[in-house]
Symmetry: C2
Subunit: 651 residues, 2 copies
Amino acid sequence: MAATAADVLSRPAPPRRQWWRMWLVGRPLHTADAPHQAIGKAVGLAVFASDNLSSTAYATQEILLVLALAGPLAFRYVFPISVAIVALLVIVAVSYEQTIHAYDGGGGAYIVARDNLGELPAQIAGGALLTDYVLTVSVSVASGVAQLTSAYPGLFRWRAVISIALVLVIMVINLRGVKESGRIFAVPTYFFIFAMLVTLATAFFRHFAGTLGQVVNPPPLEVHVEQRAVTAFLLMHAFANGTTAVTGVEAISNGITAFREPRSRNAGITLVWMAAILGLMFLGMSYLANPIGAIPSEAETVVSQLARTAFGGRNVFYLATIGATTAILVMAANTAFADFPRLSAIQAADGFLPRQLTYRGSRLVYSRGIIVLALVASLLIWVFDASVSGLIPLYCIGVFMSFTLSQAGMTRRWWKVGRLAAGAEVMEQGSVLRHDPRWALKMLTNGVGALVTAAVTVAFAVTKFREGAWIIVIIVPTLVVTFFAIHRHYRELAANLSLEDFGSPARVRRHRVILPVSGVHRGTVQALRYARGLSDDVTAVYVSLDPAAAAKVQEKWWRWGNGLRLVVLDSPYRLLLEPLVDYIKKIADLREPNESITVVVPQFVPRKWWHQLLHAQTAAMLRFALINHPGIVITSVPYQMTREPGRRPPG
Amino acid sequence: MAATAADVLSRPAPPRRQWWRMWLVGRPLHTADAPHQAIGKAVGLAVFASDNLSSTAYATQEILLVLALAGPLAFRYVFPISVAIVALLVIVAVSYEQTIHAYDGGGGAYIVARDNLGELPAQIAGGALLTDYVLTVSVSVASGVAQLTSAYPGLFRWRAVISIALVLVIMVINLRGVKESGRIFAVPTYFFIFAMLVTLATAFFRHFAGTLGQVVNPPPLEVHVEQRAVTAFLLMHAFANGTTAVTGVEAISNGITAFREPRSRNAGITLVWMAAILGLMFLGMSYLANPIGAIPSEAETVVSQLARTAFGGRNVFYLATIGATTAILVMAANTAFADFPRLSAIQAADGFLPRQLTYRGSRLVYSRGIIVLALVASLLIWVFDASVSGLIPLYCIGVFMSFTLSQAGMTRRWWKVGRLAAGAEVMEQGSVLRHDPRWALKMLTNGVGALVTAAVTVAFAVTKFREGAWIIVIIVPTLVVTFFAIHRHYRELAANLSLEDFGSPARVRRHRVILPVSGVHRGTVQALRYARGLSDDVTAVYVSLDPAAAAKVQEKWWRWGNGLRLVVLDSPYRLLLEPLVDYIKKIADLREPNESITVVVPQFVPRKWWHQLLHAQTAAMLRFALINHPGIVITSVPYQMTREPGRRPPG
């Protein structure tokens, strides 16, 4: 009955690939190689923490930028606001640590919302996260290039071009596969942590020793001072801008499956380390911004101002810090390159995105998702001319929306856990619910997290609406509607294709064949021969633009047509396709049950591809025109052209 | 045996068209309507003379521009040079008048060269003419817009946009058909002739009355004076620039078939009138340029300078003249829109251009040629930013090359006529050679024409090579090579398709069917049913990326597969198409004579076009991959998706 291919063909060799493709992404990997790609804690921190850690490079600056609206005196609020943001960080991190242990198969906001809240919240989380991953790439790369242009102002006018080139480099590295990209990214992540800690330590030492001083030649304040008073709205706006520091916390919980066993434990420890390092660096930066008199500016970043103040000029230490910051920001985009394709593959497997996104490429990565992300992020960079301050208002809303849904889902989950008897364990929606005596505390933790992040989301939408948040308010619902449209299609498809209640169809009784001809030549004769092999009921059809040509065709048909019928359709308006399509449709509409209609199209295949331009593509156009009409099967009988024509073998 | 469609279908009604298409180009015309589109002398002059007559608007100016290199004193050579150009015009016009009578079916340079000199000269003439028609559109429209911006300098920065918009308007008018466009163009052509004659008459009257004076506030001289002496090279260069006035003479001989009967006589009279009017206007302009002190400039045309001097300011007469000049220049492009599609259709019918160009659209015009011309001309305008002086160096070389070939061909033809006995008449190459006692005089006329135009062509290439003529020196040979490559393809095709010595092929003995399946569902079962209708030798093939999925497919196949064989191809590198294609090719390579192999592809047809994006296009890709492999027939069995799925009728 069924046979494996082994008896016909041997096991296939690695497929042939173009040399440049081999050089760019490496040799194809066998499916069996997949498990070897898992990573440990140290590489995991490098892969998944760079987004989170790198936000210290712009979070302080973006807070200052809002405070500047009330004049430089308002800058003193930057540290208290940063403390509040770190408190938020702690809440979010604790909440995600709980999630990682509950979902060891990957517990991003999408999965948690899907399993505990339902389809709509899950798709909202999915849409919000995908949007934000794109922005992570754009903002991080743009900010990385801004560090570079702080040190080398001559590059400022090329910032969009440099940024897009970097996005494409990261794309290629990711197409090579997660382990190799993890290794590449480990160096800059640790170099950044080291450089940042040295900078902060130097600055604090000199600060307490009283030798730090202020920024020499600070950049001019570009912001127009709009108000004298520091209002609650302004503080809320500054807080919202600063929460960019919290983005990226979810990266690890989305990527648990990339970790080595025990996955949950490794991922959890990595998360705690990440949050601790981030909190330390961010508070240090924000604390020092005031004493040194840092000014938020597109021309020179706050990191650059701090580093040259701490190290006393644009020396080698300064350049090392700038280099490390640029590197981690560019690499931070990599977090999104790990998560965007993974999330879109999950959504595609659930039937809310095109199925093609679940397909793993030659290097076992979701190559299509990687390419889509790179293209959309490059487009954004191009539109916003690589301006970080221009992109920031769009950023973070998606992340906080997904935080809220994730933690609301976890709260609901703990509620269900609380209903379980001691020691009980139930399987629900693919994850295990196990009784936990501390369920109430955990529910409270996630509940508080949900409320706080919901408040932040609202604060965002309100304070940054006019600056660009409205774009996200349009995009996320549009994405959600699209997801459901795609889902409806796949559901309909499954119902259409289901073999439930499907009686085995009867055999074809009558087989009519229609053979459109453009003339009588070898191609036609070959197709006619094939058509006669299918059925005895063959009708040739010719569309006549010119009676003289039609008469010639009829005469030749008399000789070569094997006595079969030739219908000539007059076309006084010089249309070729339409009369033919109308004729075939009329025949098809008159068909009886168990009657099959096949259109046999002689298709001429030229030797060179560009020769196709020299022919009306009747076969392709006929297929396109008839494909939606039920009950018509279209057969192409190719006739390949040879260089030295002669008597062809009749096979 | 053969039957007309009358017994199946009634005569088709005019085809349905989108409303915007009806509004833009009008209702479709029946083929039988064609003869009614012929035009008389008056409309013929408007359609075919506008290119020629309108060159007076820039010819004088382009002569002055070259003379300016030797300083304004050299301007006095403009009239003698213009007289030489009018002498050239007379030679060319007399020569073409002879051609029109010899070739009453359309006697363009291409046909004359083809019939008398052979394929290569004909294709050179064709390539040169097509290039020049494109330039006619670009130069005329750009110059028309230059008149407009002389009167309204505020529009200067929009000149490229305005020019391209005008090209598209002319395109649409031409897509409506030649008679209607003839009528539309008659008004501006006659208005221009009238306005120009009034301007010249006024200027001459005031000149001889001594009240004309000089141009008030002439535009600054933009040319850098390079040399003191007036050299022979400079005069030759100025002459070459001025010969733009002669372009367009050939238009009538190309378009004889558009004339009402007696075609040759009507066309010949129109040609004489055209040359006379042109000569008069051009000499008048060039004579007056000196006394009024006209300055060649991109900012204000010489026509504008003359008109405001003659009429004493920017009054209503001035504006009417400028308006008429703009109108005729824009309309001049129409000459090329009549000739380019006609010539390309002739070349296509000879097999040197894609056959699609011979196809007449719904309004009986060669719509594809019209669209190609508009697009290429718009591109040129965009590249040269609508600068007439930038385009002029490319212009005219093609025309003079074709003049030379045409007249060389006519010379050869009179030589053959001279060999005939008195009263003899022979048919050669589709035209009639009739004894003519004055053959020697006519041969001499055409011979002189050939020599003179050859000399002008060389003068052109030499004097304007560095300015841009080199582009044409590259393009024309490239086109000729392309024409011959296309011709070789069509010749090979004809040989491949010829039924000469082609034995009627034997009937198919064995019919193998391969059915690629992506799963077992209704679409597969329908396709299987069809495949079984074709042959008892059916093999289903499944590409397995995942053993679990493969096992499921095998199990379902056991139930629905009618006992037919299922081959499972393992694909450890996660490729879908390649293993399938390799398998099918191996089977095909092993086939015996008289064995036919059909690949039956279940093709899923979604309800909405965008749903196609949600599916891997396996059917289309398989067809693409296998089309070049001999002996494989590809059949698509469409499975249309319905909104309300259920038990489908088995038909």
